[in-house]
Amino acid sequence: MEVLFLLSVSAALKQGQITPTELCQKCLSLIKKTKFLNAYITVSEEVALKQAEESEKRYKNGQSLGDLDGIPIAVKDNFSTSGIETTCASNMLKGYIPPYNATVVQKLLDQGALLMGKTNLDEFAMGSGSTDGIFGPVKNPWSYSKQYREKRKQNPHSKNEDSDWLITGGSSGGSAAAVSAFTCYAALGSDTGGSTRNPAAHCGLVGFKPSYGLVSRHGLIPLVNSMDVPGILTRCVDDAAIVLGALAGPDPKDSTTVHDPINKPFMLPSLADVSKLCIGIPKEYLIPELSSEVRSLWSKAADLFESEGAKVLEVSLPHTSYSIVCYHVLCTSEVASNMARFDGLQYGHRCDINVSTEAMYAATRREGFNDVVRGRILSGNFFLLKENYENYFVKAQKVRRLIANDFVNAFNSGVDVLLTPTTLSEAVPYLEFIKEDNRTRSAQDDIFTQAVNMAGLPAVSIPVALSNQGLPIGLQFIGRAFCDQQLLTVARWFEKQVQFPVIQLQELMDDCSAVLENEKSASVSLKQ
């Protein structure tokens, strides 16, 4: 019996059925085997083994730090990690080694987690496919799953197996692939417009976006300061709650974290029944581009809640159709400002030109940024020009308030949680994805997720079922601000109802079964 989840492997560690070093070795071996997925930019093998050694000492002395002690995790490469290269998948930061840890990384390390490595992403987290970084695209592990391959064998038109591999979604695709392929138990992503929830849906994972202000952004290389949050990717809701418990809380180094007392630890109460719950279904999210499979699952999910006694209401978020436009303006404007810090002087790439400061900055930035980043910087600067400021930037800020108010009104009408799709369809093949440019794709793929970032609300994508092609489809739950615990409680109830299947990467797992032999007695599975 595989020990797939954080809580179960943590129990195994505490009972001495497996040591942190063995667990670390197993994950390192899987990372090597799954190298073709291109999920990791940097594998911090020595660091992880050293951390495992220290964790082992703690367990021997009965002094484990908690549920995360000895647990392998991965971190998206836009979080600063002291002494470990942090690139944001960009030439601008290639070779950059931060002298400090992001607060969320530090918190995980303080809990004894093992840092397996830094994961791949779209350059500077701009994109919805994890295809636009300098280290190449990330491949979705489901491309190689038994579930997908068997369906494809039935299709007489299926071509050569590897050329049709699927994207992970993005921009936290590396983190999603890392968790989905069992190379770690949890991974940090970032979420500005859906960058954690989108790949979670495509890779069959739980992708959680906390309320803005709940988790510190210090050390997360910023994209849009008013919308970014660190995101959590895990294989089940309980695991996400454990990680959130370690990360949530005020940080004097991030003035946008709130200092309200929060219930810690984040142990989710079991939801016995949903009869007191009111689920809202935003009608404007039913758009023609939504695939019929996702629509059908969305509908079935609503029916499930209703059949179990919950109230299911249609609600309206009237400004939904403007939300992606508003996001586009605000995002590019903040990006224009945030990317100004990259001038080659104090860190990062620097060109060889020495004629003047401006010439040096310009050439450094031309060499360091890819087209997508440069395009957004230029768009943002356009919207911020004096003659455009009122009509674009301020206008978008006003529309943002209207969108945030839409959510407030929906929740005030008695709704506890909103239920929506996460993505338009299942993961698409890479060759199809690249037919459209980054901006177009982002506008399409972020449609259900970015309004949440504008309102600062918590949201989570839960894997629901496999499509006709054997690929994961996820649905999104959106909660009230700072009601993350309630949101996760509902999500966990739903997860138990749908019983999403485990990915079958058989060839990879066979070699690991020997290591896991002695875990049979501590077997805990989702079905319990």
Binding site: I97, A340, Q346, G375, L378, S379, N381, V399, A404, A455
Partner: protein, 136 residues
């Protein structure tokens, strides 16, 4: 980068100060004139580099123009979702720092404890003094 001749060749049919409008975008009203391009490139210190990039910007602007349809009379701009809260101020005590060495390590050009920059106060050459996007 683009040679001047290529650009002159491309610009000729478009004429005058029309700018690089993309055919795919019906609203390309020539808002992206050469002046705007130069202005943006100097503000952003990032260059367009190609005709496609200008076309992409025009599409981005056309996309953003959809916001005009929203009635925002009497609506205040929203800067932060946490606007109703007081900003937390920590006490004014020095608790960290003294890490000059670590910070200097990340720079390519350093002299003693200084970051070295090329001479400032020299503007970028005007566009018609360098390669692409000449003035009309």
């Amino acid at each position: 980068m683009w040679s001047r001749l290529v650009w002159l060749g491309l610009r000729a049919p478009l004429g005058g100060r029309q700018g690089f409008t993309s055919k795919a975008d019906p609203q390309g009203s020539g808002r992206i004139t050469a002046q705007v391009i130069e202005h943006l490139e100097r503000l952003a210190l990032v260059d367009f580099g190609s005709c496609e990039a200008v076309a992409r910007l025009e599409k981005a602007i056309a996309f953003a123009d959809r916001l005009r349809a929203v009635d925002t009379d009497g609506v205040e701009p929203m800067e932060s979702v946490l606007e109703d809260r007081c900003l937390y101020l920590r006490s004014d005590n020095v608790v960290e720092g003294n890490c000059a060495d670590e910070l200097l390590q990340n720079s390519h050009r350093v002299v003693e404890e200084y970051f070295v920059a090329p001479p400032g106060n020299i503007s970028l050459p005007k566009l018609d003094e360098q390669e692409p996007f000449p003035h009309s």
